[in-house]
């Protein structure tokens, strides 16, 4: 009998219930968050008129140039958040000024691309500045360390540049999110192009920096080219980060019968190793491939070295011809900093924008609510079109850009180093979310 009562409500009751539901839906997470005990820097970090973000980028060492570019991307994003810039609002539609109406401030420290230094500095930011978000890395070793630190401290972390499969693989965490492409997607996007252009059963020498980024990118490339194209790895020259000389490594490669030099080194290490490979005459007899493109590489090496080189990347400024938001980003960045942004700056800007959108949608800085908002599968417009975070491993599903180095005579301006060949949609490039052992961990 009582069941019948419930299935026959009056119209007034229905309207009242519907109204209550709608009101609850309008701010459900706020009510949810307000009832929670403090966690991480919440609510202390967001009780005033401003919130602070902790940024650790390498400003010294072999990745310093890339770190500075990354920092500029963060700074532009903060400007755009506080000013309610149209680019920011296009990516994060609920943004007005600031984040949830609070001014965004940031603090910066040099990580020197060293995990312990980055963790130490972010630890200071948490205790001194009550940062609500941590970011920055130009080394996956740093990204992985900060991932685990974020999970322990319950403070959100969006990675800076990090190409290792591990960052959203075996070292993924609930509190970490990655915007940029990585070894697996680079290999799956670039591999077919290489096999199509150069054919099957070729011989390649690899140069690999000796840490998580290098090993996973080399493995991803080699696995793809071996299984799909019958390519062979004839030698893998593993070197420490910041090696002062590569002559012994390139000598080994010179004495191999490699037809391709796949250089996975990064930052200044990539510049120096490529330069020395050229000095030893290697680039006359083998073709250079850069699986994970390096900001400023072409500028430092010169187009005569990078012409014809195939690379995978997160962003290149000529995408402004394809995406309106890319044009807006390139124009505003160039107006402020005097050069066209590299992909480190793009990754930095997008990471902040997507985080801000997550907070705005959550309606609170309460970290578990923000994480759930980012995990909701919400699609955002971006400088490379439609993107969304994969809930199971916190990796952004986004295209990978395949580029080829232009010859000096084909460059239309001094920064016109790469020609965009393909924009490969991301979803089909990615492994199953658990394939690299990702277990995200708890919300609280």
């Amino acid at each position: 009998m009582s069941v019948q009562k419930f299935v026959r409500p009056s119209r007034r009751t229905l309207l009242q219930a519907g109204g209550a539901l709608a009101a609850a839906a309008a701010m459900p997470r706020l009510a949810f968050a307000d009832d929670q005990p403090p966690i991480g820097t919440w609510p202390a970090g967001s009780q005033g008129d401003a919130i602070t973000i902790g940024i650790t980028v390498p400003r010294t060492g072999t990745y310093a140039a890339q770190g500075e570019d990354e920092l500029k991307g963060y700074q532009l994003a903060v400007d755009h958040l506080n000013g309610g810039h149209e680019l920011m609002r296009a990516i994060s539609p609920k943004t007005k000024k600031g984040v949830l109406g609070k001014e965004v401030k940031y603090v910066v420290a040099d990580s020197a691309a060293k995990p312990n230094q980055a963790v130490q500095e972010q630890g200071k930011f948490i205790s001194d500045n009550k940062v609500v978000l941590m970011t920055g890395s130009t080394s996956s070793a740093v990204a992985v360390a900060l991932n685990h630190f974020a999970q322990r401290e319950h403070v959100l972390y969006v990675t800076g540049i990090s190409g290792s499969n591990d960052t959203t693989g075996k070292d993924c965490v609930r509190y970490g999110f990655r915007q940029n492409f990585y070894g697996q997607t680079a290999a799956a996007a670039l591999g077919p192009v290489l096999i199509k252009v150069f054919g099957k059963n070729r011989k390649a020498a690899y140069m690999t920096p000796d840490y998580t980024y290098g090993h996973t990118v080399t493995k991803a490339m080699n696995d793809y080219l071996t299984s799909h194209g019958g390519w062979t790895m004839v030698t893998n020259q593993v070197s420490p980060l910041g090696a002062p000389d590569y002559s012994n490594y390139v000598t080994n490669i010179g004495n191999s019968d490699a037809e391709f030099l796949i250089n996975v080194n990064w930052g200044h290490d990539a510049v120096l190793s490529t330069q020395q490979a050229k000095q030893f005459g290697l680039l006359n007899k083998m073709k250079l491939i850069i699986p994970y493109q390096i900001p400023f590489l072409a500028k430092e090496l010169g187009a005569d070295t990078t012409q014809g080189v195939y690379a995978a990347t997160d962003f290149w400024w000529t995408l402004e011809d394809r995406y309106p938001l890319a044009k807006l980003f390139v124009d505003t960045f160039q107006a402020k900093y005097g050069y066209r942004p590299e992909w480190g700056a793009e990754n930095a800007y997008m990471s902040f924008a997507l985080w801000a959108d997550g907070v705005e949608r959550a309606g609170t800085f309460y970290p578990p609510a923000v994480i759930k908002a980012l995990e909701a599968g919400h699609h955002n417009d971006s400088v490379v079109g439609d993107v969304y975070f994969r809930a199971a491993d916190h990796q952004l599903v986004r295209p990978v850009i395949i580029v080829r180095g232009k010859a000096p005579k084909d460059m239309k301006n001094p920064e016109d180093f790469w020609e965009v060949l393909e924009v490969v949609p991301g979803a089909g490039l990615m492994q199953a979310p658990d394939a690299f052992g990702c277990k995200l961990g708890d919300y609280t």
Binding site: A65, Q237, V238, S247, T251
Partner: protein, 291 residues
Amino acid sequence: MLSWSNFVSQFFNGLASGALLALISSGLTIIYGTLGVLNLAHGAMFMLGGYAGLVAFQATGSFLIAVIAGSLFLVVFGVVFEFLIIRRFYSRPPEDQLLVTFGVGMVLVELVRWGFGSLSFTVPPPSWAAGVSHLSFMFYPTYRIVVLGIAAAALAVLYFVLYRTRLGMIVRAGIEDSTMVGMLGINVDRVFMLVFGIGAMAAGFAGIVNAPVVSLTPDMGEAILVQTFVVVVIGGVGSFPGAILGGLIAGEILSITSMFDPAYSEVMLFAAMTLVLLLRPQGLLGLPSRE
């Protein structure tokens, strides 16, 4: 990558890169051997020589002028550095010396970064030494072969100055007993200032000679400093011939190990240093009295 041709190639490469390491290390060992100061700014001075040469090269387009400018700039820098700072630390504990030279090194690196940015710069080799030479066993950059000769010549000159001239005799006497040398009426302060200038010049000379082999960045001295320390520890701290021997040994270890497993090149270098410290703490050519 084990093959006879690769072994010969790596042996030669070890010799060439070892000679360069010896040249870079010589300045460090001259200063320590004479003044007893372990100069942690040595890597930064090496970098500074490269940048000073770069400025001269950009202004004149001449590699020779760049080499002269890089060396002279560091002589002046070394003399001023010694006069203003180092001489106040001779009688202070070694940890004070380490801290002050480490600090000056950081200031130098950041000043260069402030002036030039973090992007790297290239100094091309002179046109007659550009390109690749075909040795019977391998292709080798012509300039690196030239550097082998330059390093050998520079080390020979330094050896002559230290062992065959009156100045060298005073310097070596100063190493043994500076008080006694002073009592003989020799202005030890001036000699020490000169020695620091020569040590700095060796760093600067190596910096600009090395520039076409690498690309210049403000941080380039950091990794080199570590390797030069290994070189002088192996060869004997403060021993000039030891720096040459240590440099060649280090170059060969890095090259030959990489044939077997490149990831272990640096590990083997430190393993060799540990072995020397265990079996002959004063280094291969060092004297026990010099610590």
